[in-house]
């Protein structure tokens, strides 16, 4: 019994109907639309142009097994179906076909602080959130002191959480999640929040649970995150598994499928939950005034960010981390600017001292009180072409202050 799989996924598929049905999913459909659509139908029946209901397969024929104690990363680009798989495995949505069997107590975390109510106090939210995550009252009672100690918000336990800073809020929410005691933990990339010290604490807690023989399923679009946490990975593309196996094997395949030549990037997975004051919507990379993804050693790079920003006058720091194909951070460009509800940011990197190769970049935006407001992993990709004037060694990790406006 010891090596029998704890999770068996058999032939899981999920289809959505597009055409006017898909409009319903936007939640903006009104009775008027519905009535008009039904009125249109008989007409189309007569003319023979019956509306085709197109089926879109978000996932198709997914099979895999996970053994006890494995930490498995599920990785794929936006639209690869990994979020759908995550939702099916957390039972939020039903599969169209197939079956999943999970042996053990399952907890899924798609968000920290699900159900937190701003009017309730910290203490009340711990109970409500714990209950929503599947803890019994007795369990919460028993772990309450531990949760509070972990969150470091003892003093404000009886204050409504609407008065909490975003850091306190996240710490309390994560503290509850960290004290779940499941056999199988399904998590979304929700960990990259809070201040650095707290992030470290959370990661340690995660590693500890893995060491205790828990099975962890980690859904991410960041290869780096998967590499640092998981020993096995599943790579999804267009709703199908393209590779499964050791993280290394999957990593190689993943690098092969990466897009090249793109200069505009959008549809980011903004990692922060409710309460984040900045959301990055799209960005474009330039060399001088020309949009390009090809650079040479020593070239300057300009990154123009479009974002939603509700931060009033406050200084913010922007970090751009450059990551090599192998997942090493080779440069960190950092700059400060004053936020004033501005919708655009321009980051001017004067010189890329990078040797030839493919790179990706993470962008993080940090507020004055050292809270990560937003973190976009693999925000953009670019290539440094071979050039003659290569200076010795090339890529040594370096920090550089850059201009942000």
């Amino acid at each position: 019994m010891k090596n029998s799989p704890v999770i068996t996924v058999k032939n899981i598929s999920k289809s959505y109907n597009i055409s006017h049905e898909m409009k319903a999913s936007a939640g903006n459909v009104t009775f008027r639309d519905a009535i008009i659509n039904t009125l249109k139908k008989p007409k189309e029946l007569l003319t023979g142009h019956l509306m085709k209901k197109e089926k879109f397969w978000a996932l198709k024929g997914i099979d895999f097994e996970i053994n006890k104690g494995e930490v498995v990363g599920i990785i794929g680009k936006n639209g690869s179906g990994k979020s759908t798989l995550l939702k099916i495995m957390s039972r939020i949505t039903e599969p169209t076909t197939g079956e999943i069997v999970m042996n053990g107590r399952v907890a899924s975390l798609l968000e920290v602080g699900t159900g937190f109510h701003p009017e309730l106090t910290g203490r009340e939210n711990v109970y409500f959130n714990g209950s929503i995550l599947g803890m019994k009252k007795k369990e919460i009672d028993a772990k309450f002191d531990e949760i509070v100690a972990f969150s470091e918000v003892e003093k404000f336990l009886d204050t409504p959480v609407k008065f909490y800073s975003s850091g306190m809020y996240v710490r309390l929410a994560f503290a509850v999640a960290a004290h779940l005691d499941p056999d199988i933990l399904i998590i979304d990339e929700v960990l990259a929040v809070g201040d650095a010290a707290f992030q470290k604490k959370c990661l340690n807690k995660m590693k500890q649970s893995a060491a205790e023989g828990r099975t962890v399923l980690f859904v991410s679009h960041s290869m780096q995150a998967v590499q640092s946490l998981c020993n096995k990975a599943v790579l999804l593309e267009k709703g199908k598994i393209v590779e499964i196996g050791s993280t290394e094997k999957v990593y190689k395949k993943y690098m092969g499928t990466k897009q090249k030549g793109k200069t505009k990037f959008s549809n980011f997975r903004n990692n922060f939950n409710e309460g984040s004051r900045i959301e990055i919507s799209s960005l474009e990379i330039f060399k001088g005034d020309k949009a390009t993804s090809n650079f040479s050693y020593g070239d300057g790079m300009k990154v123009k960010l479009n974002m939603k920003n509700t931060m009033p006058k406050e200084e913010l720091r922007v970090d751009v981390n450059i990551i090599t194909e192998d997942g090493f951070r080779v440069a960190c460009f950092t700059g400060k600017t004053l936020a004033r509800n501005n919708k655009q940011l321009e980051i001017n990197i004067p010189e890329l001292s990078l040797s030839d190769g493919d790179y990706s970049a993470n962008i993080s935006i940090i507020s004055q009180d050292q809270i990560v407001e937003q973190l976009i992993q693999d925000a953009f990709y670019f290539e440094v072409l071979e050039s003659d004037n290569l200076v010795s060694g090339g890529s040594n990790a370096y920090y550089k202050n850059v201009e942000v406006k």
């Binding site: 009104t30 999943i100 069997v101 699900t114 409500f128 019994k136 409710e274």
Partner: protein, 276 residues
């Protein structure tokens, strides 16, 4: 060693797992507890609103419908104030429950899209808040009974619980239907208050059933609230005898409403997270 097994597969449309509901019973109470807690936060007089609302409605009704428009209770021995309060007591339970139940899915969409639990616990837990309001409003009713010197009858005591039960059942049936529809069409949020304001007039809250010509009374009884309010007035205030055949017609409508609402909710439930 005890282990749990979770099996995920496409479910039948109307499948209900009692075992699962039992496992989630604590969450059911937590939802109700949260709604009660949040309800009067940041208000000055807090829970007093629960009592003020029906009392002020009673006063307004007595002034305008009784004194100005001349509508009576249909029985000279029964003051209009307590007559209308009896109606309001149950109408408000019905009204509040339907409103809360039909908004229960949309109000909790943040939770619905992020975590699994049997969705059906949301409409049911929404009714609890209404019941607690009812409890306070009922205390006022007891006060009015003493004030107007109406001694409680055995009939009233026996029929009280069924009356509350059927009020909630009807509200749940109609509410679940609207809750499911609300997921898809946000128009529901506008329609429900409108329908309820019409409902107040096609339910004998302001006027006695006996003011309607005998041969048309059955039409009013198609509305379950008619039977419930009339039954309560009849047993507590001795207004007019209970018309049992028509009362059973009302209760049959109530059961149909509950079954239809529940079935519609269950059959659309699995799409909720996708389209909310």
């Amino acid at each position: 060693m005890h282990t749990e097994t979770v099996v995920i597969k496409p479910k039948g449309k109307l499948s209900i797992s009692w075992k699962e509901l039992k496992a989630y019973r604590e969450l059911f109470f937590y939802f109700a507890w949260r709604d009660v807690k949040v309800r009067y936060k940041q208000t000055v007089i807090g829970a007093s609103w629960v009592i003020l609302q029906p009392l002020s409605q009673m006063i307004i009704f007595t002034v305008f419908f009784n004194k100005v428009a001349g509508i009576g209770s249909g029985n000279a021995a029964v003051p209009y104030a307590i007559f209308s309060y009896t109606g309001l007591l149950f109408w408000n339970l019905f009204n509040g429950s339907i409103t809360r139940v039909s908004n229960s899915m949309v109000d909790n969409q943040g939770v619905i899209t992020k975590i699994y639990f049997p969705r059906i616990i949301l409409p049911f837990s929404s009714v609890i808040v209404g019941l607690i309001d009812f409890l306070f409003a009922f205390l006022v009713f007891v006060g009015l009974m003493i004030w107007f010197k109406f001694p409680p009858t055995w009939e009233a005591v026996v029929l009280l619980i069924p009356a509350i039960f059927f009020t909630c059942l009807t509200a749940l049936g109609v509410g679940m239907f609207f809750a499911a529809l609300n997921v898809k069409y946000r128009d529901v949020k506008q329609i429900v208050p409108f329908l309820l304001s019409v409902g107040l007039f096609v339910t004998p809250v302001i006027y006695p059933v006996t003011s309607i010509p005998q041969q048309f009374q059955w039409l009013l009884y198609l509305n379950p609230m008619t039977a419930i309010i009339n039954m309560m007035r009849s047993s507590f205030l001795n207004t007019s005898p209970i018309n049992w055949p028509l009362t059973f017609l009302s209760l049959a409508v109530c059961l149909v409403a509950f079954v239809v609402g529940f079935a519609y909710f269950k059959s659309t439930e699995r799409e909720f997270a996708d389209i909310i």
